[in-house]
């Protein structure tokens, strides 16, 4: 019971003190799980990130589930996962509730017009970084162009595109094509 509580509390702190998730979480994760509690090694965290990058879902949840399972089985996984999302649930619900009322004020509406431009710049830089890292060869570039065209110009839902990509990957492996 004590260890379950420790898992919950440690991942609550990790969720509370990381902005942006993903790799931004790494220093805080290391401090809590490697240095403080010795639950896993730093190498295992990186393995976990590698798996997190290629399995669906939020990376913070992947990591919490991984470490929680290793410590206390399924119960530990639940404790760590619920811990990592609790701060978001509380903070975002409060902000969403307050923001709806604030939108009555002209100044807030104006500020958000500027904030939207800032967000546009932020996500543009993030997408540029992803393109630089993720498109490595001609096949990748071809896939990028086809999927971008389908999603952006024709509004094809990712709900269709992702399963199609998975099927294509399996077919390529069956044919013995180049892996990754």
């Amino acid at each position: 019971m004590k260890e379950l509580w420790e898992l919950y509390a440690a991942f609550f702190r990790i969720g509370l003190f990381t902005f942006g998730g993903g790799y931004a979480m790494l220093p805080m994760l290391k401090r809590e799980t490697v240095e403080k509690y010795h639950w896993i090694t730093e190498e295992e965290i990186l393995d976990c990130y590698a798996i997190g990058q290629c399995t669906p879902g939020v990376i913070a949840v992947n990591t919490a589930t991984f470490i929680g399972t290793r410590r206390c089985g399924v119960k530990g996984a639940v404790a760590a996962t619920v811990g990592v999302v609790t701060p978001s649930l509380i903070i975002i619900t409060l902000i969403a509730a307050v923001l709806q009322n604030l939108m009555r004020f002209e100044a807030v509406v104006q500020a958000f017009a500027g904030i939207r431009v800032a967000v546009a710049a932020l996500v543009t830089v993030a997408a540029a970084g992803l393109i630089k890292k993720g498109i490595r060869d001609k096949r990748g570039l071809a896939l990028f162009i086809i999927v971008f065209t389908a999603a952006f110009f024709f509004g094809v839902s990712p709900v269709w595109i992702v399963p199609a990509a998975i099927v294509l990957g399996i077919l390529l492996a069956l044919k013995g094509g180049p892996a990754a």
């Binding site: 999302v85 978001s88 969403a96 431009v117 830089v125 992702v162």
Partner: protein
């Protein structure tokens, strides 16, 4: 039944969004277009809140959307639906597939999924950027000369250059600068 719809949409997003971070954005764009629960402008506000508060972006936006659609029960439903697939798959990966990363099929699927998920994020980002910079009302009224919102476009370019130059800059700084500019400029 709004909770079932929330569960269905966010479970699907959690199951299919690979890579973390902005990977959930294409699904949110898709939800905005099909369900009409929120507009692209509201989605942009949610990203602003998600980027400037602690916690994973996917979880933050799910909580926000869920709350907007159905209050606190909606926030809980959306968030737990989003993380459920990752939770279940990770349990399976930890217990059953020790050599997950060396499997030929897994590697091949990843090789295809990586550029595909990059393209999906890029398409969603393009929608957000256009939503911010283009005046759809002017286009609908056949006044193409007013199509680009010039102060917004200028601010966008300046922020883009600043953010590229100082890549270590916290997103929150950029969002505060945007808020101040919004108060001073006619955007």
């Amino acid at each position: 039944m709004i909770y079932l719809q929330l569960f269905y949409e966010f479970f699907r997003a959690g199951l299919l969004a690979v890579g973390g971070g902005l990977a959930t954005l294409p699904f949110l764009r898709d939800i905005a277009m099909r369900r009409g629960w929120f507009t692209i402008a509201e989605l942009t506000d949610m990203i602003a809140v998600a980027e400037s508060t602690p916690g994973p972006i996917g979880v933050n936006t799910a909580t926000y959307v869920g709350f907007r659609v159905a209050g606190i029960p909606g926030a809980l439903t959306a968030t737990f639906s989003l993380i459920l697939p990752a939770f279940l798959i990770m349990l399976a990966v930890v217990t059953a597939l020790r050599h997950f990363r060396e499997n030929r099929f897994v590697l091949s699927v990843l090789g295809v999924l990586r550029p595909v998920s990059v393209a999906l994020v890029a398409a969603a980002v393009a929608t957000v950027v256009i939503g911010v910079l283009i005046n759809t009302g002017a286009i609908a009224a056949h006044r193409p000369a007013e199509a680009v919102i010039l102060p917004a476009a200028a601010l966008y370019l300046v922020l883009l250059l600043v953010y590229r130059k100082f890549s270590g800059l916290h997103p929150l700084v950029l969002i505060v600068v945007g808020a101040v500019a919004g108060l001073l400029l006619p955007l």
